[in-house]
């Protein structure tokens, strides 16, 4: 009976020690590799834009293409953005929101939201259409402060985008480009 107990104790020691020692020997020249596998470094490179298969950071903000369009009848405007999916996985832009602010006066003119969710395949660039409606106060602001300007400089503030369940919020300093929107109260 004692021999059985001794044998079982020896087996217990062996099955604990052998995998640990074996792994330590295998990684004796790179102990950090025991905890940080090479795949993790590759993923980090992909995320920061250092990977071969990527072109810039995967966390870059969308860029606006073309001029925003305005429908006077409904007082709604639409702007088109392009978003590069630098990740090696398909993404879905589930929502996008922000406020449009007058660049010169810092006046909130209205909000913006994504017209519909957009799926973008890995490495591809997707087109997002952002819709918004000018408020009554915004129309007054356009008329009173920018009545003689055909286009008004605006910036997108409080920008937030939900990408496959991950929400990215950018403050004004991260929105590198200001936009020009048609002045709905242009008197020229």
């Amino acid at each position: 009976m004692d021999k059985v107990r001794l044998l079982l104790t020896l087996i217990t020691i062996v099955i604990i020690v052998v995998p640990i020692v074996g792994m330590l020997l295998a990684y004796q020249n790179n102990l950090l590799g025991l905890f940080i596998p090479p795949e993790l470094n590759e993923i980090a490179e992909d995320l920061t834009g250092g990977g071969e298969g990527t072109n810039g950071s995967g966390l870059g903000p969308p860029t606006m293409v073309g001029e925003p369009e305005y429908d006077p009848a409904t007082r709604t405007y639409s702007a088109t953005f392009q978003f590069k999916n630098s990740f090696p996985v398909n993404l879905t832009i589930k929502s996008l929101s922000g406020n449009i602010e007058c660049y010169e006066h810092g006046f909130i003119l209205g909000n913006a939201s994504l017209s519909k969710p957009v799926s973008i395949a890995a490495g591809e660039t997707g087109t997002l259409t952002v819709l918004g409606t000018w408020t009554d106060e915004a129309i007054n602001h356009f008329r009173d402060e920018h009545g003689n300007e055909e286009f008004v400089d605006v910036v997108l503030v409080d920008f937030a985008v939900d990408i496959s369940g991950i929400q990215l919020q950018l403050d004004q300093s991260q929105m590198e480009q200001k936009m020009q929107v048609p002045n709905p109260a242009y008197e020229g």
Binding site: V4, I15, F35, Q169
Partner: protein, 203 residues
């Protein structure tokens, strides 16, 4: 009927078989799973098989892999020991096999839970990162070298059915240890005593 019930340790047999089933299930179904966003990051954890999936890239951490091998071998030997013991509970080697086998599923379960809790506490204390053990929560992550950018992630975690199967296996093995007393007592050979009448001789 009673002899059949006590010939084997049925709890031990069930515990041993369930332990082996736990090993098989844990290879494919994690005990605990964490997902970030819409499956952008996924962590599948069990004492037998732990892997990480980040943006469709799956990998393991070598040190955790070694711990998983220990967990796998421990549970495997425990299950086999429990089965051998259960069919021969009165043999001389049975009690050491039971003592070896019945604790392992419980200890594996406890180490797994303690490991998860310790990781959660460390992440909370060091990185102020709230990792849920069960349910969902949102966390705001700092992005290095990108001031003005806030990343908020939805984390969902939960214990899977294989975890509860491990709980059943541990409970059955403990029940086997308790039931062993009954099996051992019943299988004791009957001791007959006879009273020898004393004879007195008159002198």
């Amino acid at each position: 009927m009673n002899a059949i019930l006590t010939k084997f340790n049925w709890f031990g047999l069930a515990g041993g078989v369930t332990t082996l089933l736990v090993i098989a299930a844990s290879m494919f179904y994690p005990w605990w799973q964490l997902t970030v966003g819409d499956d952008l990051i996924k962590i599948n954890a069990s004492p037998v098989n732990t892997n990480f999936g980040v943006l469709d890239t799956s990998f393991t951490i070598p040190f955790i892999w070694a711990l998983n091998v220990i967990g796998l071998l421990t549970l495997l030997l425990s299950g086999v020991a429990m089965i051998i013991y259960s069919v021969m509970p009165t043999k001389s080697f049975a009690k050491p096999l039971l003592d070896f086998g019945y604790k392992k599923p419980l200890f594996t379960f406890l180490f797994f839970i303690i490991g998860l809790v310790v990781v959660t506490v460390i992440l909370q204390a060091v990185l102020n990162f709230n990792l849920p053990l069960m349910g969902s929560t949102t966390n705001t992550l700092p992005i290095p070298f990108a001031s003005g950018v806030t990343l908020t992630v939805l984390l969902s975690a939960g214990f899977q059915w294989s975890f509860w199967l491990a709980v059943v296996a541990a409970a059955l093995c403990i029940a086997a240890r308790l039931y062993h007393k009954k099996v051992a007592t019943t299988q004791q050979p009957a001791v007959t005593t006879a009273t020898v009448p004393s004879t007195t001789t008159a002198s």
